[in-house]
Amino acid sequence: MKHVLIFKTNVESEEQLQQAALLLDANGSILKWNIDREDIDRVLRIESTLANMYDIMKVMVDAGFLCEELTD
């Protein structure tokens, strides 16, 4: 089953994006991800095999990023 997880972040610069990419690419449960830096919420969208978003949030927050779930 594929899950779509949506987060609000503060990933703005190209450098930050590269840094986030390292973290996200390393996560085995992530099938696809992208960050819409055009949006005010710099939305991180993840397609994942897992429904659990806390691991991802923790990894991002530990690296110094803002990463909150974007609620419906």
Partner: protein
């Protein structure tokens, strides 16, 4: 604590929401252009949350592309309804005009949206996919008509400028609500048929 947004795609796939997003995206782009569309604004207009939009679309470009692809497919389907590439030329062209008129009058927003897409970088990609089938059918139609001596052999641009540009000029008058002289203008089948008759006459050997 908030309700977490980790529902599986299948469960939350809500056609009505997607339709609303599509519809409002088309509306917004027609009104304000591509740059006038943001996910936040769209969410408000479609009465959904930004998070919902992001479930279905990666970003703005992805959204525009998906919406355009869907609309282009609908337009092609409408244009080809009841049409067959082997039809006699006059009959085939008449169906083309009627189908296009029906589409434009029924879906003016979508038609304008597709015009905008056609003239944008997104257009290339969208149209290369959808248009293939359409172009094939149309070129087969023209080739057959020339072969049967029902149509003068012309460069394709000249053919199009005679066969369809008059139609789109009438559509434009209708859309503007007035003609070049500023006189009020409203679409009518009588105008269309009169113009079409002249077009067929001009294109017949």
């Amino acid at each position: 604590m908030n309700v977490h947004l980790y529902l599986p795609i299948m469960r939350i796939k809500d056609e009505q929401k997607i339709d609303a997003i599509h519809e409002k995206a088309v509306e917004t782009i027609v009104k304000y252009g591509f740059d006038g569309l943001s996910m936040q604004k769209l969410a408000k207009a479609a009465n959904v949350s930004p998070a919902t939009i992001y479930i279905y679309f990666k970003d703005r470009d992805d959204l525009i592309q998906q919406v355009a692809t869907k609309e282009a497919a609908k337009m092609v389907e409408a244009s080809l309804k009841g049409f067959d590439a082997t039809m006699p030329f006059a009959e085939g062209l008449t169906i083309q005009w009627k189908n296009r008129a029906k589409y434009w009058l029924k879906h003016p927003q979508q038609a304008k949206f597709l015009e905008q897409v056609r003239h944008s970088p997104v257009g290339e990609e969208v149209y290369s996919k959808v248009k293939k089938e359409f172009s094939l059918v149309m070129s087969e139609f023209v080739k057959g008509a020339v072969k049967r001596r029902e149509l003068i052999k012309l460069p394709i641009e000249v053919y199009w400028a005679v066969a369809f540009a008059p139609f789109y000029q009438l559509v434009k008058f209708h859309d503007d609500g007035k003609s070049m002289s500023g006189q009020p203008f409203k679409w009518s089948d009588a105008y269309m048929n009169q113009t079409l008759k002249l077009v067929i006459k001009a294109l017949t050997p």
